[in-house]
């Protein structure tokens, strides 16, 4: 049985990082939250501008994402910055407390002076940081790993090199008892029948086709053509000509293992194996959903080169061609372009990805972590009200 060294949490989940984070509940507190993090080196700010003036469907999704992020197994301790009597802060606190995770809320009383608020937040975080240093990694079973599968800035090589290699990795980790979560519903359009036919049963297949159909319906309601935004200008410069072509490449990240479950944005897989999460093609929002759903590591193939990361999960970048690996090497961890010019096979790169996932899970930093890329964006569904 393959193992890695992770952090065992009181609720039994396993983290591959031991972050101390500060997160805001509503947009009004974003700057203050950032300021608290800046005053406490080592603490990661998780900042967003939602949580308020949202329709119910957006509010529910925002709350689910914030709870999933704040309570993530890669997080050692969480400071929640909320308003007075803040229901979001109360909900996060209740859930995290139940999980046994160190959590504290600074629920602002506007009669407090700003230095007092900053001091309260910083004091708790300093103690949380000290406590986090006492936590040690221990040997964990690879079956505990959930790996998100993502692509961004795809090119014509994506579906030939990096994505099938990620697919090979996905099959490998599932054979070992782990879980992989494919995402980006947009980029299943035109190839959905292939994934659906590979579902473990007809019900799961139908569920998957339903989310793709709903997605297309939403797009039609705007009176727009999805093809006017996807492929993006960069995709086209990289040689992709249609969304279907992009989708056929995208789904290869799922490998050949049957699809076991379809989950909502920021939802948690209930089964081990190959899972699909309903996310937009917007990569940062998609990674945010994967992380909030419990993925401890995300694989991210890129044909054009993208620096983005996540505040809470390591994101491993896989370049699709030798040129992008050469010119954007500071942002890329693995060169799948070796399939083109170094006689490597898809399985060779799949194995390289597998080994990288283990070393990163053991603590090795990714390119995005080295560059402090901590982008965070929650998928929005409707207009602010």
């Amino acid at each position: 049985m393959k193992t890695f060294d992770g952090y065992r949490r009181p609720d039994g989940s396993i983290g591959v990082r031991n972050h101390v984070i500060v997160i805001n509940t509503v947009g009004e507190l974003s700057a203050l939250t950032r300021k608290i993090a800046n005053l406490t080196p080592g603490v990661i700010p998780v900042i967003h501008h939602g949580g308020v003036a949202q329709f119910p469907e957006d509010h529910t999704q925002t709350l689910r994402t914030l709870v999933g992020t704040a309570g993530h197994s890669n997080v050692s301790a969480t400071l929640v910055v909320g308003t007075e009597n803040d229901p979001i802060a109360q909900e996060i606190y209740k859930i995290l407390k139940k999980k046994g995770k160190p959590v504290h809320t600074v629920c602002l009383n506007k009669n407090q002076k700003i230095p007092e608020i900053l001091h309260e937040g910083r004091s708790w975080l300093l103690t949380a940081l000290e406590n986090s240093k006492k936590e040690v990694r221990e040997q964990c079973d690879i079956t505990e790993l959930i790996v998100g599968l993502e692509c961004g800035g795809s090119d014509a090589w994506s579906g030939i090199t990096a994505n099938p290699s990620i697919g090979a990795f996905s099959d490998m980790i599932i054979r070992e008892g782990g879980t992989s979560v494919l995402a980006e519903t947009t980029e299943a359009i035109g190839a959905e029948h292939i994934l659906a036919s590979n579902a473990i049963n007809r019900e799961v297949g139908r569920e998957f086709l339903d989310i793709v159909r709903t997605y297309e319906h939403r797009i039609k309601q705007t009176g727009e053509d999805i093809r006017s935004a996807n492929p993006t200008p960069g995709n086209m410069a990289g040689g992709l000509t249609t969304l279907e072509e992009k989708s056929l490449g995208c789904i290869k990240k799922g490998g050949g293992t049957p699809l076991k479950e379809v989950i909502s944005y920021a939802g948690k897989p209930t089964e081990k194996g190959f899972v699909f999460m309903d996310t937009p093609g917007y990569d940062v929002e998609s990674v945010c959903g994967l992380a909030a759903g419990g993925a401890q590591v995300v694989l991210f193939s890129t044909g054009k080169g993208s620096p983005t990361g996540s505040p809470i999960v390591p994101v491993i970048k896989i370049g699709t061609n030798p040129k992008v690996y050469e010119i954007m090497s500071e942002h890329i961890d693995i060169n799948a372009g070796k399939i083109i010019d170094q006689n490597k096979s898809i399985n060779d790169i799949g194995k390289e990805i597998f080994d990288k996932v283990i070393t990163v899970s053991n603590g090795e930093k990714t390119a995005a972590e080295n560059e402090l890329n901590q982008e965070f964006a929650i998928w929005r569904l409707a207009e602010s009200i």
Binding site: L32, G238, S384
Partner: protein
């Protein structure tokens, strides 16, 4: 049943009892402020460099460039890719509007390269009236090169700014955003006489005042419609009493936006008085710039960061934010003066710039106008002192 205007709002709701509209208020500094004149005729109350990301993917690099340059302000946000139609149009126009804001001396646009919202498109959309440049991380072969080139360009602009001086400018150069949040009747009762008199005075002196039309003001649409001669605005405002057409994808009949309670209607009636006695020139949609001087209403949301950012993008160079207890965020582009009613406990909150008390409204109006001119001339607001500026682009649809 759709209410007639007279059902819950009366014309006299719009009258301000203690201040006579249009009376000249004597201000010690005179009707001028010290600002930065721009070549397009607009005036800055600050003189900064905008480092603007076209997409979230370039936000880390954008922040890094801004952190290395004096006077640089990072404009980072969550949008810029996988957007369609009107939602994408809002992102583009917000960013070009921010670049045009007179508080920016110059602008550097930073993209990733493969995103929907291309830097070249933004450069083409932004009027060429001040120094501007832009490129992408992929074009520069990585973040390190992008930061180096960005710093080289922006540091030259920074040197220019060091040598620039403020000059005396007429108050008519001010474009003032008036934003309400967290409103209740008591707050409105105390602040309305002073704020409405100030708005009247600013309009008498040819300034432009843009007020926010958030959800709390929506039920007063029919009365607001009587304040404008613009046919399009009149029609749009009339329908407000039935709720603004905010877009969503799932219909939840249990969450109707068009039904307002008596309490909401009453609050809206009070808030409508805040606008003062002058006619509205137009009702502006999200991110629509005013075409002339005068009084405008701008569609916005109850998300304060998105709303303040919206005011930045339509060209406001200063704003007043009225709330019950003050707010804890501001813009990183324009100074926002935080106004709150003086409460019974007389607690001094360090994030509030100006307290309004009951009575003596005329004197308080003069003092508030003086404060506005001082802040426009460079005095930092409380939230600027604490560096709590933010920027966010509203979504009017989903991302794909």
């Amino acid at each position: 049943m759709v209410d007639d205007p007279g059902n819950y709002l009366r014309q006299d709701h719009l009258l301000i009892p203690s201040i006579t509209a249009g009376r000249k208020v004597k201000v010690a500094m005179g009707y001028s402020f010290k600002g930065y004149m721009r070549s397009d005729g607009s005036a800055g109350t600050r003189n900064n460099i905008g480092i603007i990301s076209s997409v979230i993917c370039s936000s880390t690099v954008t922040n890094e460039i801004a952190s290395k340059i004096d006077y640089a302000v990072p404009i980072v946000h969550s949008n810029g890719c996988a957007q369609l139609g009107d939602d994408f149009s809002v992102t583009k126009s917000m960013l070009s509007g921010v670049a045009e804001n007179p508080n920016f001396h110059s602008n550097l646009l930073i993209g990733l390269g493969c995103e929907t919202n291309q830097v070249t498109g933004l450069l083409a959309a932004i009027p060429n009236v001040k120094p501007i440049d832009g490129f992408s991380i992929q074009q520069m072969a990585g973040g390190t090169n992008t930061v180096a080139k960005g710093v080289a360009i922006a540091s030259e602009w920074s040197k220019d700014i060091t040598n620039e001086q403020r000059t005396d400018l007429p108050i008519s150069k001010l474009k003032i955003g008036v934003i309400t949040t967290d409103m209740d009747e008591q707050t409105l009762a105390i602040t309305t006489p002073v704020v409405s008199a100030l708005i009247d005075e600013l309009l008498e002196n040819d300034s432009t005042v843009i007020c926010s039309l958030t959800r709390t003001l929506e039920p007063s649409g029919k009365i607001l419609a009587t304040k404008t001669k613009d046919t399009r605005s009149k029609e749009m405002l009339k329908t407000l009493s039935e709720g603004l057409n905010r877009r969503r994808w799932e219909n939840d009949e249990g969450y109707a936006l068009s039904v307002f309670s008596d309490e909401e209607k009453s609050l809206a009636a009070h808030e409508a008085r805040l606008l003062g006695s002058k006619d509205l020139v137009e009702f502006l949609n999200i991110n629509e710039k005013p075409s002339n001087r005068g009084l405008y209403l701008l569609k916005s949301s109850d998300n304060i960061v998105e709303t303040i950012s919206n005011f930045v993008s339509v060209g406001c160079n200063v704003a007043l934010i009225i709330s019950k207890e003050g707010i804890l965020t501001t813009s990183n582009v324009i100074p926002c003066i935080s106004l709150a009613p003086c409460n019974e406990s007389q607690i001094h909150r360090d994030h509030v710039d100006f307290y309004i008390a009951r009575g003596n409204e005329e004197k308080q109006t003069v003092t508030l106008l003086e404060k506005l001119l001082q802040v426009s001339s460079g005095e930092l607001t409380a939230l600027e002192e604490y560096e709590l500026g933010e920027f966010a682009i509203p979504h009017i649809g989903t991302t794909f």
